[in-house]
Symmetry: C2
């Protein structure tokens, strides 16, 4: 499961937490591991379930608090993929999410796709787009009438 580079990433994050005066605990390690092992589309609940598989008495509130802490450190961010729960992923994820309103399927596309939009919003509106913070909704190929 834990690919070798995931261990390195975990170690880096752990060090970052310590450098900021945070404590590295069993629940925190488990949350980080669950994110690293995930596909970048895990909700707090998914992460909680993964953590609890190994450490049954980690509370979901601890998962939320850890996710908060990791966001403050800039390690992860969350996206809203629809009406339900937000999903958490590494900051350098590099993708935007396309969510089909019909089948619910999520497709990742490189965030270069919004480069022109990002430039225009900056030029014309002084707005710095954070493209990974939200999903883009629409209808996927399979669900479109031809």
């Amino acid at each position: 499961m834990a690919a070798p580079h995931q261990k390195e990433q975990l170690d880096q994050i752990v060090e970052l937490i310590r450098r900021h005066g945070g404590r590295v605990t069993v629940p925190r390690r488990a949350v980080i591991a669950a994110i690293l092992e995930g596909d970048g589309h895990r909700s707090a609940d998914d992460i909680g379930r993964a953590v609890q598989a190994e450490h049954p008495d980690v509370a979901l509130s601890t998962v939320y608090r850890t996710l908060d802490a990791l966001q403050q450190l800039g390690v992860i961010e969350h996206s809203h993929l629809g009406h339900g729960a937000a999903v958490y992923h590494l900051t350098d994820h590099g993708h935007v999410h396309l969510v089909c309103r019909s089948c619910g399927d999520v497709t990742d596309v490189p965030d270069e796709i919004v480069a022109e939009l990002t430039a225009r919003l900056d030029d014309e509106h002084g707005f710095a787009l954070a493209p990974r913070h939200f999903a883009m909704f629409g209808t996927c190929r399979r669900c479109r009438p031809d």
Copy 2:
């Protein structure tokens, strides 16, 4: 308040409801009026408050059910402007929303701004973007460090 063209719009919507076998009730009229009078950024709760100013015993659940019905008819749609409640607006609103993650301010921009993105997503991914269903997050001019 009620601009003359709003009365016409209301009548059109009322007729559409009837044509689809729906009943036109006092609460429904009031919900539609609240949407027409709004700025396109009203949440279900905002709409409920506006409705209750005139008709104090309309329940919020009725507001939600009416909003649902209007969405099914294609008259309105909702957008997620952040972590809180969704906002409802006419389908032909023609704008996308820019939401500042720092100050929470919402700016409307004509949806022409996403034309190129829409075309690329269609070409490259077969994905039909529904740009008004979600807000785009980022940092607004005022909140950006220069």
